[in-house]
């Protein structure tokens, strides 16, 4: 066996000199020593560095002689096996020994000296991600610039250079002039302010200035103060240390103070209703207010369930009253409406009224007996009820028919005493039937039957009409049955009806959310024998469902704002009682529609004349 050793040297002018020599041995040695088969004059190489043994035709073993290894295909090792047909590269110091073998020839070892081959740091830089991704610094600058420009510079610049706000009334609802400030919005506006969504500067008028009350009041011009400022301050009492500190800080930053709009009305809390103030907000002043505001008429209140005064209804309690009186709803509260109406008789399941209702039947919209809804009609918004209307709600039973001519009935006009007087005076005096049962002597009550057991009306004439008028006005007469008779200017008359269409002055009650309840749950009408009974429920009834805001066991935990408004309706309108007396008589709310229309027409005519 043999090795062919080929040495490649470079001449000074770069020419290669190749020398071949054969070593007839199975083993060759490599080292710095001159007696090695391959002599490598490099100080990095040991005197006797390694040896190559030929194991068989396709297998060479390279082994380090000392402790220093060598490079085999770039890897440092101390021994290795090589198939010279596949080839390998050995490295000793600066020398490279390339092993190869072609066909049946001996293995060839080609020796060359490499230039300093250590890879430069540039070669190693590829291991890092630095060249692969955009530089950290560059992308940081890019992001910094983009964000500051888009979300700061552009909105501020366009805010400072925006055209002056228009003073027309619809200006707040137009689109804002500031660009990119939608990105500043911390959340959707509430339902009420939804139109302002794109117009930030409508409220945020000045840079670095919190939203001012005057800005709110440009639209909410009718909002009045809860009470006079000094009274509010006295009523609230001194602030706690924490609150005082908070406000001291806030005022340093330009907040307007604890009484400002934004203290309670926070915006950008998401679409939907603006949340009302919490119960605690009211209770802070009202729980012990009488100790601070000694002259107040208001009773302390802090929690509907545990600390709330008895409800009071504003009603008329005596004939001829023009201003309502507030009556506590405890005990058996009474009112004076000028009407005679026993609820119990009308609501009985059996008896005359029920019989009559069932006889009139579905044609008039009645069932087997009367129910509340037969006479009481809710308003369109279902908050309350329309005034009871004689023609629609009573007259199908309490007929005002006084005469029959041929097949036509003549009916008195309700609500007009003079007209009635004239109608009755002009009544045909020809006898028609037994005068004993004439209606004008006294209308028959439901349940009192005529011959044959049927309810019927006797249209017999009065003998003398003037007497008939007086009888009609008498206690059991056709008018006096429901109205209290009186005398006006020496003539028989009835007391005007003095009924209010709502009773709570400082609170608000909405029937609509209470629809699931029966009327009788709150209004004890079926046991009321007289119209003087004020059929409004006391506080205790409300409390069967409604308790304070924090009462988790209650069916309906109720904060103050559920019934009470903080702001009076308009400037100076502190209380409805102080306002104009409730209109009664011809323009009052209790008039039938027909008559109201007449008045309107009459007023319209007057208007034309004056022109």
């Amino acid at each position: 066996m043999a090795f062919l050793i080929r040495t490649i040297d470079l001449t000074a002018d770069g020419r290669e000199i190749i020398r071949d020599r054969a070593v007839e041995d199975d083993t060759i040695t490599i080292g710095r020593g001159a007696d090695n088969d391959i002599h490598l004059p490099d100080l990095a190489v040991e005197q006797y560095h390694a040896r190559i043994d030929q194991l068989d035709f396709r297998k060479l073993r390279v082994e380090a002689a000392g402790t220093l290894g060598f490079h085999l295909d770039g890897r440092v090792t101390k021994s290795g096996q090589i198939d010279p047909h596949e080839g390998a590269e050995l490295g000793f110091g600066s020398y490279r020994l390339v092993l190869s073998q072609d066909g049946p020839g001996p293995p060839t070892i080609t020796i060359s000296q490499a230039e300093n081959a250590a890879p430069s740091s540039d070669d190693l830089a590829g291991f890092s991600l630095a060249g692969t991704l955009p530089g950290k610094r560059a992308s940081a600058w890019l992001a910094l610039t983009a964000i500051l420009a888009a979300f700061l510079a552009v909105p501020i610049y366009s805010h400072l250079t925006r055209p002056a706000a228009s003073t027309t009334a619809d200006a707040p609802h137009s689109k804002g002039a500031v660009v990119m400030d939608a990105s500043w919005s911390t959340g959707s506006l509430s339902q009420a302010h939804h139109a302002l969504e794109d117009n930030c500067e409508a409220c945020h008028a000045e840079p670095f200035q919190s939203v001012q009350d005057t800005t709110c009041l440009t639209c909410h011009e009718d909002i009045a103060d809860h009470a006079d400022k000094p009274r509010q301050l006295t009523g609230r009492g001194p602030m706690s240390t924490g609150d005082a500190l908070q406000w001291a800080v806030a005022e340093q930053f330009g907040k307007e103070g604890p009484g400002s709009c934004t203290t309670c009305h926070t915006e950008h809390e998401g679409a939907g209703r603006m949340e009302p103030a919490a119960q605690q907000f009211c209770a802070d002043c009202h729980d012990t207010m009488d100790t601070r505001l000694t002259d107040t008429k208001l009773v302390n209140a802090a929690d509907f369930g545990t600390s709330h005064p008895q409800l009071q209804a504003a009603v008329f309690t005596a004939p001829g009253q023009t201003r309502p009186v507030r009556v506590p709803l405890s005990g058996k509260p009474k009112e004076y409406s000028g009407l005679i109406f026993p609820h119990d008789i009308h609501l009985q399941r059996s008896g005359g009224v029920a019989k009559m209702a069932s006889r009139l039947g579905t044609k008039e919209g009645y069932g087997s007996s009367l129910v509340c809804a037969d006479c009481h009609t809710p308003t369109a918004d279902e908050v309350g009820f329309l005034p009871v209307n004689m023609e629609e709600d009573c007259e199908s039973c309490h007929s005002l028919v006084y005469d029959k001519v041929g097949t036509t009935f003549r009916t008195l006009q309700h609500g007009d005493v003079e007209q009635m007087r004239a109608d009755l005076a002009a009544l045909d005096r020809a006898p028609r039937s037994s005068a004993n049962n004439g209606m004008l002597r006294g209308r028959q009550r439901p349940g009192e039957y005529s011959r044959g057991g049927l309810y019927y009306q006797n249209f017999g004439p009065p003998v003398r009409s003037l007497v008939a008028v007086n009888r009609a006005m008498a206690k059991d007469g056709v008018c006096g049955e429901c109205h209290i008779p009186t005398t006006t200017n020496g003539k028989p008359d009835v007391m005007p009806v003095n009924l209010r269409d709502h009773f709570l002055i400082n609170g608000r009650f909405d029937h609509e959310p209470h629809k699931q309840e029966k009327c009788a749950t709150c209004h004890k009408a079926d046991s009321s024998k007289a119209s003087a009974d004020l059929l409004l429920p006391p506080l205790a009834t409300c409390r069967t469902c409604h308790m304070g805001e924090s009462d988790t066991k209650a069916d309906v935990p109720s904060g103050c704002a559920m019934c009470h408004a903080y702001h009076p309706k308009g400037k100076g309108d502190q209380s409805e009682i102080k306002a104009a007396p409730l209109a009664q008589g011809p323009t009052g709310p209790n008039l039938p529609k027909r008559q109201k229309q007449g008045i309107n027409q009459f007023l319209a005519m007057l208007g034309r004349k004056s022109e």
């Binding site: 070669d123 190693l124 590829g126 991600l129 950290k136 992001a143 501020i156 939608a182």
Partner: protein
């Protein structure tokens, strides 16, 4: 409660002072404790303090959390400056890094409570999202620093990076001469393999370890397909195939190294620029909130 005897305690302390101590367990996890207390105080006060109508960044409590959060963000981002000034002692870089990690994690709680869970398409949420991206990339960074260096040295098998490059160069030199007898088409394949840059690969290949356009693999597939030659023949193609196989395995080692390096480094390419973006968004957030107060 079991009490630890004094003796082992002292021993442990001595050992700690001499052994390597990770920034994660620095000083008995002092900063972890600080961060936990901070989070606990924030969470308890969030539920204890009643903000009407609901929690948001604009209440006094929100402003307090926001101030703490903003100061923390600024301080945490100062690590980049601090680490360039190497000092020892009380505020050693290790202490600083430990605090950076744990207070950064606490920022998740403080930042989230500051939002009052009211998020939207605005600059405020942008700042929050950027903050979360920075923190999550930081968590990733800590995780890979704890696990990957071991696999990096496993893969290296006592080779330095320059040795890997040199080994590849040695194979390439042999390949160059072994391929001399080949025909045009075959030499083109070898040339393509030799000319393809070892490091000219994008982030996707580096992170996934999948190099679909690798010319060495393609050349190897071409030469390996030819089964007609008897084993052990002296055909130059066999030599080229063997060398290509060695080139491939050397490339694989380098590529494993690249992958681990990429996994180790990539988070910084998010963490650092997004931190700067966060500082910008934070500035815009704070200024805009008070500009439109």
């Amino acid at each position: 409660m079991a009490t630890i005897p004094d003796q082992p305690q002292n021993q442990r302390e001595r050992r700690q002072s001499s052994d390597h101590e990770s920034f994660l367990s620095h000083r008995n996890m002092r900063w972890l404790k600080v961060a936990l207390v901070l989070c606990l105080v924030a969470i308890v006060s969030y539920f204890w303090i009643d903000v009407s109508p609901r929690h948001n960044g604009g209440s006094w409590y929100g402003y307090t959390l926001g101030t703490i959060g903003a100061l923390l963000i600024v301080w945490l981002s100062l690590l980049g400056i601090r680490k360039r000034n190497i000092t020892a002692g009380r505020w050693s870089l290790k202490a600083w890094t430990s605090a950076h990690v744990y207070l950064g994690l606490a920022l998740i709680v403080i930042g989230t409570l500051h939002t009052g869970f009211q998020l939207g398409w605005n600059v405020h949420t942008l700042a929050y999202v950027l903050m979360m991206v920075v923190i999550l990339s930081g968590i990733y960074g800590v995780a890979v620093y704890a696990t990957l260096p071991a696999s990096l040295s496993n893969n290296a098998r006592e080779m330095t990076r320059s040795q890997m490059v040199e080994a590849l160069a040695a194979i390439d030199r042999q390949l160059q001469s072994a391929a001399q007898p080949l025909g045009r088409e075959e030499s083109d394949l070898v040339i393509a393999a030799l000319e393809q840059g070892t490091f000219d690969w994008g982030i996707g290949s580096r992170l996934s370890g999948r190099y679909r356009k690798c010319a060495t693999t393609r050349a190897l597939a071409y030469f390996a397909d030819d089964w007609s030659r008897p084993v052990g023949s002296d055909d130059p193609k066999d030599k080229v195939r063997a060398l290509l196989g060695r080139r491939k395995s050397q490339l694989d080692q380098i590529r494993r190294h690249l992958r681990i390096r990429a996994l180790l480094e990539v988070w910084l390419y998010i963490h650092i620029p997004v931190t700067i973006a966060l500082l910008a968004a934070l500035t815009a957030h704070v200024i805009s909130v008070f500009y439109y107060w």
